[in-house]
């Protein structure tokens, strides 16, 4: 299915590699057999309909969850085999942008961005101030440094989350649904920031999203995940012309197809007749 696109075999020195990953939750299989690679220094998207386990995939990559079977490798290190200390060392090199920003609500914007620096370094206050202000400036929120998270809009909170995610100069940044629930202006800002930050800092970026338009603008590569496995992969342009039913349904926003409109249920007539019986 992934023939002709980037496959685990043809990316040398990938930043991130999953092979034969199987994972289930409460007995329900989420991933049956997921294999993919993320090339270094590129923006890669993992797309798919809601409920296909895209966020779960990010949690497997960061070691918050463990695969039942298969290999999850970040920068050559097998994540689920790492002891806690080594896992935390690895996470210091990964930035993670949560869907809602996940800002600490008892700290203001400045302190939220400074948080990883204060926890992991003994930098002098002047340098912390410089780093925080630089990162806030890069996301356009230097003027909001003393606002509390409750005073921010959804888009602003996400931009602060982004500033916090890159303040430790990570090599890899993971974005969990960065465009969800944003107005068009904020969405445009986030798209531009992801691209700018990726190029300016030479990062590897992984975006988990179902927003086709925005992903097409920013991603170099995209994987489509459905039915517990990777169903296609390649550049967003190539995926648009892909004629596999999974890809066609997703990329062309068809309401019914391999991903059914209806949640599995018994016969419609039986359900309607139940009260009468």
């Amino acid at each position: 299915m992934t023939q002709g696109y980037v496959t685990p075999g043809n990316v040398t020195d990938p930043h991130l590699r999953l092979e034969g990953v199987r994972f289930s939750r409460n007995g329900r299989p989420i991933f049956r057999d997921v294999s993919l690679t993320i090339p270094r220094g590129k923006v890669t998207a993992i797309m798919g309909p809601s409920g296909t386990g895209k966020t779960t995939l990010l949690r497997l990559i960061t070691g918050q969850l463990q695969a039942e079977q298969g290999l999850v490798e970040v920068d050559g290190q097998q994540v689920d085999r790492l002891p806690r200390k080594a896992l935390y060392e690895l996470r210091k090199r990964i930035g993670f942008l949560f869907q809602a920003g996940a800002l600490l609500t008892d700290l203001d914007v400045y302190e939220n961005v400074a948080f990883p620096l204060r926890e992991h370094t003994r930098l002098p206050e002047a340098l912390i101030h410089h780093l925080v202000m630089t990162r806030l400036h890069s996301v356009g929120l230097r003027g909001a440094a003393r606002l509390m998270p409750s005073e921010l809009s959804g888009g602003m909170a996400r931009r602060v989350g982004l500033a916090r995610a890159i303040v430790m100069d990570p090599e890899l940044v993971l974005y969990d649904e960065p465009f969800a629930g944003l107005d068009p202006i904020s969405m445009g800002v986030i798209v531009r920031l992801i691209r700018q930050i990726n190029e300016a800092l030479g990062l590897t970026s992984v975006i988990v999203s179902h927003d086709i338009e925005e992903v097409s603008q920013v991603a170099d590569w995209a994987w489509i995940i459905a039915d517990g496995r990777i169903v296609a992969g390649g550049t967003p342009e190539a995926l648009r012309s892909d004629d596999s039913p999974w890809v066609k349904q997703f990329m062309h926003r068809e309401s019914d197809g391999p991903v059914p409109f209806h949640f599995p249920a018994r016969d419609y007539a039986d359900d309607l007749m139940e009260v009468g019986q």
């Binding site: 960061t62 918050q64 935390y88 060392e89 996470r91 210091k92 990964i94 993670f96 949560f98 869907q99 809602a100 996940a102 800002l103 600490l104 609500t105 948080f115 990883p116 926890e119 992991h120 916090r164 430790m168």
Partner: protein
């Protein structure tokens, strides 16, 4: 009948499973104590938030409890012509029993519930996951400072409760009912023993501080990340603490009295 036995068996199993989980969580916290003491600034912040902010409710309650004890005590002691021992009765009751017990229950109501809901909400809004992703252990950064602050705050609050309670008893006993002030203080001074009476109160309040704080942080940390989950955790923090404190109080009292 069979169904009732099955229900009882299930409830028993659930109880022991929870007890096991709480014990494991407590042991994990104990391991983190030295590291947390090195960052005492975080504990200090929480001590102010949890302890100092509980002072008003503790103080007001203590004065009322002391006043009621004096009224009831005067009524009973006057039947035996022993009203001069009112100070002893008020002090003994407060230092040995009511001070530690009521402080722990009030602390659970004022600060335990706020701890449980705060930590539960932090989980529900991905703040704890966010910390884990920033390679910051939420147990060390969030749970431990709050737990230690609670353990330190309860004995201090219990001491304040007992002192203000005795003052409340003095106002009513001496000021209103005419008990001799010299007898009130002198008999108390003679009868209340530091090593037995005061120490038993201190040990109890330490045990209750650990209990109230542990239950609050455990419930918050393990709350399902939903509105209902956080609300249940908050309720459980106060209900379980109240029952546990009363049960532990019985066990400690039985051990001391023999």
């Amino acid at each position: 009948m069979i169904s009732m036995w099955q229900d009882l068996r299930l409830a028993g199993r659930e109880f022991f499973e929870t007890l096991g989980a709480v014990t494991r969580f407590f042991l994990r916290l104990l391991v983190e104590v030295p590291a947390s003491l090195l960052r005492f600034g975080l504990v200090w912040q929480q001590l102010y938030r949890l302890g100092a902010h509980s002072l008003l409710i503790i103080g007001i309650s203590a004065i009322f409890v002391g006043m009621v004890l004096a009224l009831q005590g005067y009524h009973i002691l006057s039947q035996f012509g022993a009203v001069d021992s009112l100070g002893v009765m008020v002090a003994m009751t407060l230092v040995r029993e009511l001070g530690p017990v009521l402080t722990a229950v009030l602390f659970a109501g004022r600060s335990g519930t706020s701890l449980a809901s705060e930590i539960g909400l932090m989980r529900a809004t991905d703040q704890l996951s966010g910390m884990e992703m920033m390679a910051v252990d939420p147990i060390q950064r969030v749970v431990m400072p709050r737990f230690l602050a609670g353990v330190i705050a309860v004995p201090l609050l219990a001491a304040i409760f007992s002192a203000l309670g005795i003052f409340g008893g003095y106002i009513i006993g001496v000021g209103l009912l005419g008990v001799d002030a010299g007898s009130f203080w002198a008999q108390m001074n003679t009868a209340v023993d530091v090593r037995t009476d005061v120490m038993s109160g201190i040990w109890k309040s330490v045990a209750f501080g650990i209990t109230a704080s542990l239950i609050a942080v455990y419930e918050g940390y393990n709350a399902p990340p939903t509105a209902e989950g956080v609300s249940r955790a908050t309720t459980r923090a106060i209900v379980i603490t109240a029952v546990a404190v009363l049960a532990i109080n019985f066990v400690i009292t039985a051990m001391i009295v023999g």
